[in-house]
């Protein structure tokens, strides 16, 4: 009987804990007939950016986190956070998993861990505290909280002033007047209790950016399991876990949309000019990334990105 320790950095009330990690732990226990169980520790063993390293070094057996918390290390995955990767989290998460399997599974950046699943959150959007954001002029000189280098670059190119801070700080920053707007998925506006402060939502079709996540296990620990158990766990992980991830983010998105609609929030559509500006920065980032991804050991970055988009189009059409 093996107990795998899991380090998670969201509160135990968060849906990633209750609706993704707990059900996954159940399905692992069921698949292995109780031979392998997951012990999710009550407090994280490190800061969020340290979670990949916690699993790789085997301090915890399983962790999850955001790839771009370590931007240089996972340059290969930037494409998944660029504009227009899709707002159907289930389709995008599964598409990312298939892309990872086909192009990245052997990349040295992932040495030392067994990837159990990947996920996206279904499109980040602009949420403003006081005014509708529709045209490029509306974005000019707005102080916007961002959570990573890709979001920072998009904001700079739109003439906004990026303020780097974790999403957990958004409430304090809004209350303190440090920022005018904040970038989040619709779901996280609700889950970080920002619905009273952010009532103007600008919804970019297919998303302004995204956030890519991993759920990983220490490689040595994975190899130490019986082959039968590995097979059983693999069956409930990989695409299945990525799908569970996306489904739960979609469910939260629906819940948030219902709440905001009821609360009389405004949903704004970006103007053609604003869309053109976003497309322009997106194209520039893709060009730069192609060089960076090649350096990071991806054989054909353009083909990888095309495969992802094709898989997303196919999955989201269903």
């Amino acid at each position: 009987e093996t107990v795998l320790t899991v380090s998670s950095w969201v509160p135990q009330t968060h849906f990633i804990y209750t609706d993704i990690l707990l059900p996954y732990a159940d399905s692992v226990a069921k698949a292995t007939e109780g031979r392998v169980t997951l012990n999710i520790m009550p407090a994280p063993l490190g800061s969020p950016p340290q979670h990949f390293e916690l699993a790789r070094t085997g301090v915890a057996d399983i962790t999850w986190g955001n790839f771009t918390y370590e931007p240089e290390r996972f340059a290969a995955l930037w494409f998944a956070e660029f504009p227009f990767v899709g707002t159907d989290a289930e389709a995008s998460s599964v598409a990312l998993w298939r892309t990872f399997e086909a192009h990245l599974a052997d990349n040295p950046a992932f040495d030392g861990v067994e990837m159990l699943g990947v996920g996206l959150f279904g499109g980040g959007q602009i949420h403003h505290g006081s005014k509708p954001v529709i045209t490029p002029e509306d974005m000019a000189n707005q102080k916007v909280r961002i959570g990573g280098p890709i979001q920072a670059r998009i904001m700079e190119s739109l003439g906004a002033v990026p303020v780097a801070a974790p999403a957990t700080k958004a409430y304090e920053l809004l209350e303190g007047g440090v920022i005018d707007a904040s970038l989040h998925s619709v779901e996280s506006v609700m889950n970080f209790r920002l619905e009273e402060s952010l009532k103007q939502h600008t919804i970019v079709p297919d998303g302004l950016y995204d956030s890519s996540f991993f759920i990983v296990m220490n490689e040595a620990k994975w190899q130490s399991l019986d082959e039968a158990d590995r097979t059983a766990i693999a069956a409930v992980s990989g695409e299945a876990l990525s799908r569970l991830w996306g489904q739960q983010f979609n469910a939260q998105h629906e819940k948030a949309m219902a709440l905001f609609t009821e609360g009389g929030h405004a949903f704004n559509e970006p103007s053609a000019d604003l869309m053109a500006a976003i497309t322009a920065v997106s194209d520039k980032m893709i060009a730069d990334w192609t060089v960076a991804a090649t350096a990071a050991g991806v054989a054909d970055p353009a083909a990888m990105r095309a495969d992802y988009l094709a898989a997303y189009a196919e999955l989201s059409a269903k």
Partner: protein, 163 residues
């Protein structure tokens, strides 16, 4: 001795600059944002790095002055010459802990270089910072060893200046 004193004054000046920089940064960030609508991008990043530099750069001096927080409930009996060997032991334990810290931080520095670990906002590489922290922790271990065989070098002259 003159030379040692000079080094100390220099390190102290560095500490003062680091601390002042932290305050000035927050101050400028808030003022810039409020009055001119331009916050300093990555002010949090810089503050974090300054804090890392500050804590570790000053650590050898704090240890040399034996300023670590201690519980002195049983001082009456422990300060008796009979227990001098034990007090020497405590400084050896301190030296050992900092030596381990230095060694593991060095490993972390090399790791950070391999995986290009950078800060969140400004992408400042972390490896040099961890390397510096490792070096300072090593010096701290030496400082702890020094206090095992000689009286601590306090900063009494500063306190006199204050009075």
């Amino acid at each position: 001795m003159q030379f040692a004193h000079m080094i100390r004054r220099t390190v102290e000046t560095v500490l003062v600059c680091l601390m002042s920089a932290m305050v000035a940064l927050t101050f400028a960030d808030v003022i810039g944002r409020r009055l001119f609508g331009t916050p300093i991008f990555g002010a949090h990043d810089l503050t974090e790095h300054l804090m890392g530099l500050l804590v570790f750069t000053g650590l050898p001096l704090v240890t040399l002055a034996a300023m670590h927080l201690k519980v002195d409930l049983f001082d009456k009996c422990l300060l008796h010459p009979r227990f001098a060997w034990w007090l020497k032991m405590t400084t050896l334990v301190t030296a050992m802990v900092f030596a381990v810290m230095a060694w593991t931080l060095l490993g972390k520095a090399m790791n950070a270089a391999t995986f290009s670990e950078v800060s969140q906002g400004l992408n400042i590489p972390r490896a040099p910072l961890y390397g510096w922290m490792a070096a300072c922790a090593a010096l701290t271990a030496l400082a702890a060893l020094y206090t095992a065989f000689a009286p601590p070098i306090s900063n009494a002259h500063d306190q006199e200046e204050l009075l």
